[in-house]
Symmetry: C2
Subunit: 203 residues, 2 copies
DNA sequence: ATAGTTCTTGAATGATCATTCAAAAATAGT
DNA sequence: ACTATTTTTGAATGATCATTCAAGAACTAT
């Protein structure tokens, strides 16, 4: 009787590790794409039963959005390591491009970019996802804008093109690199293309 | 009785127009992608009943392959118009890039490239499709190789880079352009990127 | 017109899909 | 230990999927 008036919060905390689950989902979506990844695939990949997934992420699309959020967070942390505490900004960019080539040349899960793959699949189909990814990609591009601005301040670049223009060309180039990798070129060709992109963007 | 020995070929010709059907399938696949395009969608788009589709193309994947074949044929014809009977090869390339930008900037069916979209969706999943598209893309690239070789012969380009290297950079750049368009940049930005690509590839 | 053959039709099939939900297990406060 | 609450479980649901196939329509040659 007394307990009817005393409402305390008694929560049982969820048992799964959110980041771990999301990274498993990221892998699954990267390999099969959004549509072809079934809830059964996701159950197997994440170890979560359907009910838990729906409880935590609303539905399959919610899980995708959460996965993309985690993916961008991870990539942003990675990004910082290339350009923070680096005397030469352009050296950081060079390494960034080299590692990108390595990633999409070696046959692994990380061959593709989740954002690019999902955007390509769901643009014109799922406006919510489309908008979300587009915004994230603008954030990513802004990182390059800041990097190029810093490079100009340090005298590593001339003022022939604005940081924004260089960043746009670079982002476009990286999209192209990743797409080109799908046609199975030799690693040598990929290195050449990445190097050429670097030179064009820094000219 | 006599007719048992006289075997003549009596064929009823199929009623549908193959090219028309394939172009309808191309549109459908470009909008929804391969997986999300159901046989019901294809029935509606092509006007063919399931049985006829299976009779003509074996299955859904067969229809995709036939559609990609038609798409590449159409694109190859289109390609020729830019570079045949043209005094300046590079002017042809400029127009080609301008029209590509127009296509993916304007909101229409032709916003995407069927080959690029299908390759992005089915790479790592459908080796047969993957191989088929990769080969077609090499043919497309070879067209650019020949174009750059001709431009060098005409003195429109220096020998700083080989025709193959230029063609690879160009193909990569076009992949990038089309991907970049998915993030909804202003038409102005797309024009700038295409122009920059042109300059980089012809430098 | 008739017979032989091919093409078209579209309902039926069985598989797989995303999603739901009631019951069971687990947690926290008393 | 007991009650209140939440999470986990996984079978059930209804929709949709690619594919099949038997029956009907259409064509060709006689």
């Amino acid at each position: 009787m007394r307990q009817l008036f005393i409402l305390r919060i008694m929560m049982r905390s969820a048992e799964f590790n959110r980041e771990q689950v999301l990274r498993a989902a990221i892998k699954a979506f990267m390999v099969k794409g959004y549509t072809k990844t079934s809830m059964q695939d996701l159950k197997q990949a994440t170890g979560l039963h359907p009910g838990s997934i729906y409880c935590a992420f609303e539905n399959k699309q919610g899980l995708l959005l959460a996965a993309i959020e985690q993916y961008n967070k991870d990539k942003a942390d990675e990004f910082k390591q290339y350009f923070d505490n680096q005397s030469s900004v352009l050296t950081g960019l060079k390494h960034y491009l080299e590692d990108t080539v390595t990633a999409c040349t070696q046959g692994g899960t990380e061959k593709v970019c989740l954002s690019q793959k999902a955007l390509n699949e769901l643009a014109q189909q799922e406006p919510l996802v489309e908008q979300y990814i587009s915004n994230n990609m603008l954030d990513w591009q802004q990182g390059f804008v800041d990097m190029f601005a810093k490079a100009q301040q340090l005298g590593e670049l001339n003022n022939a093109r604005s940081p924004l223009q260089r960043a746009q060309s670079l982002v476009m180039g990286i999209y192209g690199l990743r797409s080109y990798a799908h046609t199975h070129p030799e690693s040598e060709t990929m290195c050449y293309l990445a190097n050429q992109l670097f030179e064009d963007v820094c000219r």
